[in-house]
């Protein structure tokens, strides 16, 4: 159970939002919406603990995230504007090492399976620098197939993806929610997850 | 020029042949201090105009309506 209470965010001299409250329970999808520059990315980074809120508190199962950092981060996955894909490593190595670092080591076959599921089966061993824009995003998204974290925080996961990948991601979200996971998501594209009515949080 | 060291102004300025070094030290120091004070004044003026503008137009996002 993730909760934010009367959050405020100041960037430079502008107050992007203030007195913002939200709550996210099991099986729920929270859509953060707003125009360009309204502070969606800033909010998600705050929720991850990367940015300290100017005011207010974020809590995970009733505890402030700063005071249960390790447990919180073990249960959370963040996907930001930067896909954390190393250009010099192959798709396989990228995913493999990302999983090890995050502490959910997966076997070779799991990793290959995840990449294959996202349609990268034929470029497992290509260095990421020679992948196209969308293929790189797919490599990063493949983490979601392997993690056991319950809270997913996704910043525009759908950019640069083609139709096929869009459907894959949406069904992935559906499965995760059905298992009682939680998802906090921003996107400028329409999202539809079967069987789930998203909560929305509008930034202005 | 009075005092036990100097008998005339030119002697004072001459500094026993070390004018360049002595006046170079004291002069540059004086210049630096004066410069710092001037810069501080300019910065304060700039800050005040900035504040006035902010008060008049409100925050950056309101600049748009004003323009």
């Amino acid at each position: 159970m993730l909760e934010g209470k009367s959050l405020a965010c100041v960037r430079g001299e502008r107050t992007l939002f203030s007195r913002l409250d939200f709550a996210l329970g099991e099986g729920e999808l929270l859509l953060v919406q707003g125009a360009n520059g309204s502070g969606k990315t800033s909010l998600l980074r705050m929720v991850c603990g990367l940015l300290a809120p100017e005011f207010g508190e974020i809590s995970w199962h009733g505890e402030a995230i700063a005071s249960c950092r390790e447990r919180y981060h073990a249960d959370m996955v963040y996907f930001g504007h930067a896909p954390a894909v190393k250009e010099d490593l192959s798709a396989f190595e990228n995913l493999d090492l990302a999983c090890r670092l995050a502490g959910f080591p997966a076997g070779r076959d799991d990793v290959k399976g995840a990449l294959g599921y996202l349609g990268l089966g034929h470029c497992l061993d290509l260095p990421a620098r020679s992948l196209s824009q969308g293929q790189r995003r797919r490599v990063a998204l493949a983490r979601l197939l392997l993690t056991r974290a319950r809270l997913w925080i996704l910043d525009e996961p759908l950019t640069a993806l083609d139709q096929a990948a869009l459907h894959l991601v949406q069904s992935l979200l559906g499965e995760h929610l059905a298992k009682g996971g939680m998802v906090m998501l921003t996107t400028h594209q329409p999202v539809a997850v079967a069987g789930v009515v998203p909560k929305t949080l509008q930034l202005s | 020029m009075v005092g036990m060291n100097w008998h005339s102004l030119s002697e004072f300025i001459h500094m026993g042949g070390y004018a360049l070094y002595v006046w170079g030290s004291f002069g540059v120091t004086a210049l630096l201090i004066a410069g710092e004070i001037l810069l501080l004044g300019a910065r304060r003026k700039k800050a005040l105009t900035l504040v006035r503008r902010t008060i008049k137009f409100g925050k950056a996002e309101n600049d748009e309506d004003a323009a």
């Binding site: 405020a8 100041v10 960037r11 430079g12 001299e13 107050t15 203030s18 007195r19 100017e54 005011f55 | 009075v2 005092g3 036990m4 060291n5 100097w6 004072f12 500094m15 026993g16 042949g17 070390y18 360049l20 070094y21 002595v22 170079g24 030290s25 004291f26 540059v28 120091t29 630096l32 201090i33 710092e36 004070i37 501080l40 910065r43 304060r44 800050a47 005040l48 900035l50 504040v51 006035r52 902010t54 008060i55 008049k56 137009f57 409100g58 925050k59 996002e61 309101n62």
Partner: protein, 265 residues
Amino acid sequence: MSGFNLYKYSSPATFYVLAGRLIPWFYAAAALLGAAGLYVSFFLAPTDFQQGEAYRIIFIHVPAAWMSMFIYLAMAGWAALGLAFNTRLSFMMASALAPTGAMLTFVSLWTGALWGKPTWGAWWVWDARLTSELILFFLYLGFMALQAAIDDPRRADRAGALIALVGVVNVPIIYFSVKWWNTLHQGASVSLNTAPSMAAVMLAGMLVMALAVWMYAIAAALSRVRCIILERERNSQWVAQMLGAEPHPHPNLPLEGEGTNVEGI
């Protein structure tokens, strides 16, 4: 610069006014002490029998050198306070001290060089003191350059504070390493021979000048911190009230200092 009740005065709004009241006094003290110090340096202190008049540089050189080191300590102290208690004012004081400190460091380098040419015949030698003063100058520059490179004031404050603290741990290490480095190679290169009767006048002159520089440094730092406060808090209510205008209404979060009634600038 220390000795204020930090908790009472750590609000920028209160401090802004207090500093405004103090600044003229510090400038006045600096001017008076400076005049007295210059009188001592040029008219009371006799000519040195070895160095002639060139030694009069000591009256600006040594105070500047002392203050350059002392200001760095003060700066690091404010930075530590800021990191420990998260008071914005402490960070602002640290940033306000740095340029004055760097300026005085430069003065001590410059006057030292101008003194070295007539006494040692070289503008510069790689003596321990000189070298560590040069490195101190780099420490100041690093602090200021780091803060200047960061747009977000919060990050600038914290990053600057961290490097100031790391630097202060290093200052003694630098000092001793350089000293040892130098003496291993050659004997001490300077010693100023002065008649004992002269020592008292000289010491008095240096002390008065040092006090003058100290007062000046406080005045300059306070003026600068007032500018910083204005720049940073220009959106807050108290600044608007102080300047006697109604703030533009906007539905943002209350900033610290809101509601403080402040008279005068």
